[in-house]
């Protein structure tokens, strides 16, 4: 279960992502990014609602959200949606990711989180992977950040914690859902879930 927590924490720590040039070292960018993410999380002047909004904005600006959404949906699902639905799906999937780390974030004291950088691996000309160990209260988790190059900037498209891939996990569920229903129904399901969460998250 702790690995799943780490998945959420890793995601939130990397909300501010690599927008540097193509030749800029991804590790330095990630280090800078994590520092900024931790700073936001430690800021007690920001309410949980504001943190949620802040990270939603950072993710939408800096994650490769379109690629993440496409990969989570897969070829069959993506092509079944029209242009408007695809845009909506990207937005809805961003909401899912935001909710995912927001939930876990409230469970973790980020002041005890430290990151050790292990490797920076070139997967291809347009893909990189940075391997890290994230330590939370003494316990270490292997966290791999996968980057895609687009428009001369690096952006994360997947995070793997102890081998558990964020995208692959959603892909399995979405595949099952589409088999028994449709990609459009999945889109509606995600939108409804996001709306319900937003309603519940509003302070009374």
């Amino acid at each position: 279960m702790r690995k799943l927590i780490a998945l959420g924490v890793a995601l939130c720590l990397t909300a501010q992502l690599c927008r540097g040039g193509a030749d800029e070292d991804t590790r330095l960018t990630l280090e800078r990014t994590i520092d900024k993410g931790v700073a936001i999380l430690k800021n007690k002047a920001i309410s949980d609602q504001d943190k949620l909004k802040a990270f939603d904005t950072l993710l939408s600006q800096n994650c490769h959200t379109e690629l993440m959404a496409m990969l989570s949906l897969g070829r069959a699902g993506w092509t079944a949606l029209d242009k408007k639905e695809r845009d909506e799906f990207v937005k809805a999937f961003l909401g899912v990711i935001t909710r995912s780390y927001y939930n876990k974030l409230s469970q973790v004291d980020v002041s005890h989180v430290a990151v050790d950088y292990l490797d920076n691996i070139k997967l291809s000309d347009t893909r990189r992977m940075i391997r890290t160990v994230m330590k939370n209260s003494g316990e270490g988790f292997k966290v791999d950040y996968k980057f895609a190059l687009r428009d001369k900037s690096w952006a994360i498209y997947d995070i793997e914690v102890e081998g558990i891939s964020l995208i692959a996990s959603y892909r399995s569920q979405f595949d099952d859902f589409i088999k028994s229903s449709s990609a459009s129904a999945l889109l509606n399901e995600l939108k409804n879930n996001n709306r319900r969460f937003e309603a519940e998250a509003v302070p009374q």
């Binding site: 291809s124 209260s137 081998g163 558990i164 892909r171 399995s172 969460f197």
Partner: protein, 242 residues
């Protein structure tokens, strides 16, 4: 004829590219292949899905109606450092299992590191209540169990199994729990009642350190059962590769 085939291939490729939106992501296919391989690698047969889902439902109720309330009360009266120390103690106690399975997989370096960590934690770490090996020296446990040992000799997961009390697993790992059980020193406690109390206490302590996380999963996943099985298999695959 060859020209016709070439034209047909080009046309099909063009149609596929258009459908994907080639201008959106130049090399999308390599990303798609990567994720597809990851998903397929952990797609384990689940012929007993209805039974497994029933067991998951049982575990879910057990968590919310028994384990969570008890762990919550325990958490309220027990400071976190104490609970973490209890967790460390039981982890250190699982040394024989890790050592034996490292040796069975011929991972002699891992076995040596396990021996080193156990020695440090049992002495400087006050019987393992403090994980000095990891916290002060950065020496992690070399986690190995009999499921991984079987996998290292070519055994596949065979089929999905969701275990009462323990949750997601597969047939190989479920069977692997048996030999591992006999390597757990707690098993050799004389009294059955004491054994159950220790095992129950260990579980309550672990749960107290993780309250809220399962609730988060339930809230954010479309199919919790599928997610748990999938995450389990992905994690196991990673451990087996190491």
């Amino acid at each position: 004829m060859k020209i016709s085939v070439s034209i047909a291939v080009c046309m099909v490729t063009a149609v596929i590219s258009t459908a994907w939106g080639a201008d959106e992501f130049d090399d999308f296919e390599q990303f798609e292949d990567e994720i597809r391989q990851q998903v397929d690698a952990v797609d384990v047969a689940d012929p007993l899905e209805q039974v497994n889902r029933g067991i998951w439902w049982f575990n879910d109720k057990l968590y919310f109606y028994l384990l969570k309330p008890v762990a919550g009360g325990y958490k309220y009266v027990t400071p976190q450092p104490v609970r973490e120390s209890v967790y460390n103690f039981f982890e250190n106690l699982a040394f024989p299992k890790r050592l034996a399975n490292n040796l069975l997989q011929l991972k002699f370096r891992g076995a040596a590191e396990e021996l080193r960590n156990f020695t440090f934690n049992s002495t400087a770490g006050c019987l393992g209540f403090f994980n000095v090996a990891e916290n002060h020296y950065g020496w992690n446990d070399r986690e190995e169990d009999f499921g991984q040992t079987m996998a290292s000799y070519g055994a596949g997961p065979w089929m999905t199994v969701h275990l009462p009390l323990f949750g997601p697993s597969n047939l190989r790992d479920a069977l692997g729990r048996l030999p591992d059980m006999f390597l757990d020193p707690v098993m050799y406690v004389d009294s059955w009642g004491a054994l159950m109390a220790i095992r129950g206490g260990k579980r309550v302590n672990y749960t107290s350190l993780n309250i809220g996380f399962y609730e988060g999963i339930k809230e954010e996943q479309l199919d919790v059962y599928r997610f748990l099985q999938d995450a389990y298999e992905q994690n196991r695959l990673q451990k087996i590769k190491e």
